[in-house]
């Protein structure tokens, strides 16, 4: 029972990592808090239902992943261009702009997909359950764990070990210095925005069999991602991973063990972390 909850928490945590890493990097780099990030996740979940259908085949599900990735790149590029003219104004204005976008997009999705729950079953082949810890465990839950670990490793490698990653980290630290050394920061910005948004939409497809697409899911995911980012510290891939795993366990294990206090657990975790480490567990972004 507890082992199953821990495994569920791992699945939720890694899914949250995929969503939150884009949010964290975009914020760490450009101080743009993208409040439309949850809407991207929801768009991904709707994309899974639209492209692959309610009972998807493996091919259909993979196609949905591809479509979501491409759409995410386009959406992220668009968001980056939308916030670009506000780069010289306060960070709040940029966050407010994405809030307006989030409201409008959520409403458009409600128009297109109505208010009904659009559930997607796991793709054929992964819709079985296996014996695990003396109980039946749905195989599909293992997919986010596997893919999440892969993506975490890949993101970590790209950000920490490659020249592109060095550029990203340098921009997080001091973007004026990067610009002064002759690099067009705007290109880095559009690229990170696009990659982060693509990851959020891919996470939406991956999460669609776990969280069914419905109006309001965008806010739920946005809040969880924000808590992950605040707990983990902004702009740090390792921090986001740690924060996501922690929040995943709080969500799953906490709800299983202390269901009465479930609403307080998330708040409690946030309060404890902020009281002890006001800037999150790992903070990389400079004190701007």
């Amino acid at each position: 029972m507890i082992a199953v909850s821990i495994l569920n928490g791992l699945a939720i945590g890694l899914l949250l990592f995929i969503v939150a890493v884009g949010l964290s990097l975009v914020f760490g780099m450009m101080d743009v808090l993208n409040l439309a990030h949850g809407a991207l996740f929801l768009a991904g979940a709707y994309a899974a239902w639209f492209v692959a259908g309610e009972n998807p085949t493996m091919a259909g599900f993979l196609a949905a992943l591809g479509v979501a990735g491409l759409a995410g790149i386009v959406a992220g590029g668009g968001l980056s261009l939308l916030t670009e003219p506000l780069a010289r104004r306060s960070h709040l204005d940029q966050a407010l702009l994405t809030l307006g976008v989030a409201l409008a997009v959520a409403e458009l999705m409600a128009l297109a997909f109505t208010k009904d729950v659009r559930a997607v079953n796991p793709p054929r082949g992964l819709d079985r359950a296996i014996d695990l810890f003396d109980s039946q465990y749905p195989v599909y839950r293992l997919a986010p764990i596997g893919i999440g670990l892969l993506l975490a490793a890949a993101t970590h490698y790209v950000v920490e070990r490659t020249p592109v990653g060095a550029l990203i980290r340098a921009t997080v630290d001091d973007r004026d210095m990067v610009a002064a050394s002759g690099i067009d920061v705007r290109v880095v910005r559009v690229a990170v925005f696009a990659a982060g948004s693509a990851l959020a939409m891919v996470a939406g497809v991956l999460g669609s069999p776990i969280y069914s697409a419905r109006p309001g899911l965008d806010i739920t995911i946005l809040i969880l991602a924000l808590v992950v980012v605040v707990v983990g510290g902004l702009g740090s891939v390792r921090g986001v991973l740690l924060g996501a795993l922690l929040i995943g366990q709080v969500e799953s294990l906490g709800r299983a063990l202390l269901s009465d206090l479930a609403s307080f657990l998330l708040f409690g975790t946030l309060a404890v972390v902020l009281a002890l480490r006001p800037h999150g567990l790992f903070r990389v972004a400079g004190g701007r």
Binding site: D31, D93, L97, G100, L103, L111, L226, V227, F267
Partner: protein, 305 residues
């Protein structure tokens, strides 16, 4: 001049039921409730420089408190409003303890997360809040032996409470405390070096804003006689922030105009727009953020100069 405008506006509001159709009067009452919420939020956003995206939590908590008292205790207006203010302030103390440690966009994230958690609580604490059905069948508010069921009476009650709440925030804004809060907004390190403790002042602003939002919530319970988790959710918080920004942060009358626009688009024109008021509001909001960095209030300044 300011006082004249204020008194004139109140007189016009009080006279409105004699000239407006019943539905329009009810909409005006709803505008007053929402405007009081927007004014309390403006104390945080515009005057103290703390952008909150979870302010509906204190509004909704106040509404639940007033509704609960009306159902289980007394339906007299004053105890209801007092209880709503007290509960709004207490919840703001707890939330503020965490939230004022941060600033800027960080504050936005924290208030958003806290607001969402309070909404979850409202949804799951069924014995007190009625769960996702909300508190319904709240008895009509009474003042002495007067029962406020007639929409004109209800409107005058809302006008009176709005005037009190607005005056409180206005006085704070014009007082030395308001000047200190503006100082913290504009240059926190300098205020600290002058010997002020910014966190204490931010906490004060946060709790006062929570209390006034609770007052607005008490008014909501009397007007709607129904409180649902949606009243303290993200959308309400976002619309309140939109009202403040559209009106021009830091200008209390601007927040009222912004609130009027939001309520008119959402409730009055909403049915004609196929229930997609939020879509229109989102687009208007995007346009305002681009074109009017200081909201409507900035427009007046631009015309004047």
């Amino acid at each position: 001049m300011k006082y004249l405008t204020f008194a004139g506006s109140l007189a016009a509001l009080a006279a409105a039921p004699f000239f407006l159709a019943p539905y329009a009067t009810t909409t005006l009452t709803r505008i007053l409730v929402f405007a009081l919420l927007a004014v309390s939020l403006d104390l945080l956003v515009g005057i103290t420089g703390l952008p909150s995206l979870g302010h509906a939590a204190y509004f909704g908590v106040g509404a639940y408190a007033a509704g609960w008292l009306a159902t289980h205790g007394t339906s007299q207006a004053l105890p209801q409003l007092g209880f709503a203010v007290a509960v709004g302030a207490v919840v703001a103390v707890a939330a503020g303890w965490v939230a004022v440690r941060s600033h800027g966009v960080f504050f936005l994230m924290l208030t958003l997360a806290i607001g969402e958690i309070i909404q979850q609580l409202a949804q799951s604490w069924t014995p007190v809040t009625g769960g996702s059905n909300g508190l319904y069948g709240i008895p009509a508010t009474r003042i002495g032996d007067f029962v406020l069921t007639h929409i004109a009476l209800l409107h005058w009650y809302a006008t009176a409470v709005f005037a009190v709440g607005f005056t409180i925030v206005w006085c704070i804004s014009a007082s030395p405390l308001g000047a200190t809060l503006r100082g913290i907004r504009d240059n926190e390190p300098r205020m600290r070096s002058l010997g002020y403790d910014p966190r204490r002042y931010k906490m004060m602003a946060f709790v006062i804003a929570g209390a006034v939002a609770g007052l607005a919530g008490g008014l909501l319970a009397a007007q709607q006689r129904l409180v649902t988790p949606a009243d303290l959710g993200f959308t309400t918080s976002a619309l309140a922030l939109i009202a403040v920004v559209i009106g021009g942060a830091g200008r209390l009358w601007g927040a009222c105009l912004g609130a009027a626009l939001v309520v008119i688009v959402r409730d009055y024109l909403g049915p004609d727009l196929g229930g997609h008021g939020p879509l229109v509001l989102g687009l208007v909001f995007i346009a305002v953020v681009y074109a009017l960095p200081r909201g409507f209030a900035g427009l007046r300044r631009r015309v004047a100069s």
